[in-house]
Symmetry: C2
Subunit: 350 residues, 2 copies
DNA sequence: CTGAAAGCGCTTACAG
DNA sequence: CTGAAAGCGCTTACAG
């Protein structure tokens, strides 16, 4: 059943059917009703690929994620998806599994006009390539970014957030502080390490090179955190405080401390990053840097829509507010264990 | 830049360019090389919507998920995606957020020919609707299913798995056993409750109605598990063992026990379902029913591809093997805490 | 307010 | 092995 069939039955031209569907105001009420009746009767569904072909827009955007399995990204994705759906767009999901080649493949969907635009939650391609692409297609970066790249970007200030997390440990009196850092080939890893170093330096604390252990995103994160923490604990003088790249690694790190017969926070204090929901499920509850994950997704998608609609964007870098959430994994102030529904909620989804 | 432009430069017809791209054997080596050179030179990218329109296939499938945020489904999705990519298909993700209407909307993408087929990880539509749809379009069900529906389905035997989990508690000597069940409007909730009842009955144990507490998937699962466990603990005689619908709820349940000043497993033993990775991160490590999540995804996608390629499928129900993983949350046998890389791995991703 | 006609960029049966 | 031509199902400028 195609449009011309509907037209024939309704005794109008295909053009009229098309108008009823996408521009009903252009059609008289009488004709419109007649056409709609036929459409319902035969249960006509327009062939959307034909429409896409004709209108040169797919009403689909691509979200490229480094790891779909991560609770962090699913929150961001939900922000993207909600805005997309509200505006009549679909979201294709591209999971690169932290693989550069897959990232590159997904980006090519733009060139083939398969999608109207793209939100990149991973930005590991060459700067020049992205720059070139973004001159021709709507692209927004979120979470990850590229220094000096003139493409709309939504993220937090990772350096200052990392500084904050580290300073929290310093304020609690720690001096032997280590950092299980993210991979050095992703900017977030480099930024958070930078923030860590800044905090240490401005407090006149040394950073022992063996106190920096690089985590690995290509294996299960908590496993990577476990391994790196074990290395730290095996040192002659292990650290008493550790700032960990993200919450998932931090969980592994906590496990490592416990498995070694030590306690968190008494023997080793730990701060994470991202404030995942499970940070209040493990013991002790994890102190962490909160990122407005859902809002980042929303903001990024809104920007993308602006670009798709050729609206001007007068800023290209959108820095969202992060927040240090203090729980029990560093000692000091401790959160209460609320029993009521309300406070559970506050506790678990800050 | 379109195909006819490339053709002009290469001094051939558009038909020849098309053949070079999709049926190179039909073209002489000489012509082929000439055309390929031009294609590279001008960096021609075929317009894939035009191709989709012409060939009437989108090389895209839709995966409909009830909750993209859940670690369970991301594993299944990865299985789907890996197979899809290998076979040159893209995956559109539809997150229904446990909302029936959204499920229905996504399913309509089939009618609009936006996708070549669909894997449903949620099956809450009317049986008749799905039956009708599946007569016209390739559809595979995974994880959730509909009784008596003749559509290829991949899942575990939820009833027997639930029985196994419950019997584990019974064998450990528990008699006051409760079940925090899944929502009664999804089949998995009903099935697991059924398995629970079967195990109780065949062991001559009573099921106190107040020992059945229905969880809620529309709120944060661990919060729901927390709430329901609090209700159980408030009973005059609280249960000593609880089988929980899934691991996320089980985490909340464990938290509730601890927050009430009781211990797991000494005061309350808990078994979960799904064997998520975080079940070895919380304390105590959660005993749980393992589902072959990734394999379910692979199998479902393979079946879908068979249907898309009009191959015959001679069975419609594929039951995968589940497995009770015993850890520490029920007492009895306890798992060791391995330190080496290898055993961590085994421990964390059974 | 409505219709006839052109055309979006490919692919493929047909002819040679 | 190659080309000319038709056509996939819509939308939209144009004319009336």
């Amino acid at each position: 059943m195609k449009m011309s069939d509907v037209a024939k039955i309704a005794n109008v031209s295909p053009a009229t059917v098309s108008r009823v569907l996408s521009n009903p105001d252009l059609v008289s009420k009488k004709t419109r009703d007649k056409v709609l009746e036929v459409i319902n009767q035969v249960n006509y569904q327009p062939h959307s690929v034909a429409r896409q072909f004709r209108t040169r827009e797919t009403k689909t955007i691509l979200a490229v994620v480094p790891d779909i399995t991560s609770a962090f990204f699913s929150e961001v994705l939900r922000g993207i998806e909600h805005v997309a759906i509200k505006e009549g767009y679909q979201v294709i999901l591209g999971d690169t599994e932290n693989n550069l080649e897959r990232e590159s493949d997904y980006v090519n969907l733009l060139l083939q006009k398969q999608v109207d635009g793209m939100v990149l939650l991973t930005a590991r391609l060459e700067k020049e390539r992205l720059e070139e692409l973004s001159e021709h297609f709507p692209i927004v970066l979120a979470c990850e970014y590229i220094d000096g790249l003139n493409v709309p970007t939504v993220s937090i200030d990772n350096i200052s957030a990392a500084r904050k997390a580290t300073e929290h440990l310093i304020q609690l009196g720690h001096t032997k502080i280590a950092h299980i850092c993210g991979p050095m080939n992703v900017i977030l890893g480099r930024d958070r390490l930078r923030g860590f170093r800044q905090a240490m330096m401005s407090n006149d604390l040394d950073v022992d090179p063996s106190y920096i252990q690089e985590g690995d995103l290509t294996i299960e994160s908590s496993e990577s955190g476990y391994n790196q923490m074990m290395k730290l604990l095996a040192l002659e003088t292990p650290p008493t405080g550790v700032f960990v790249y993200n919450d998932e690694m931090a969980m592994g790190a906590i496990k490592a401390v416990k498995d070694s017969g030590l306690r968190v926070p008494e023997d080793v204090a730990i701060v994470g990053f991202d404030n995942l929901k499970m940070s209040t499920v493990i013991e002790p509850h994890l102190s962490s840097i909160d990122q407005p994950k859902y809002n980042i997704g929303q903001k990024a998608m809104n920007l993308l829509l602006q670009m798709i609609n050729k609206e001007k964007i007068n800023k290209h870098s959108f820095v969202m507010k992060d927040n240090l959430i203090i729980r029990d994994s560093c000692g000091g102030k401790s959160e209460s264990f609320p029993h009521s529904h309300e406070s559970f909620k506050k506790n678990i989804s800050v």
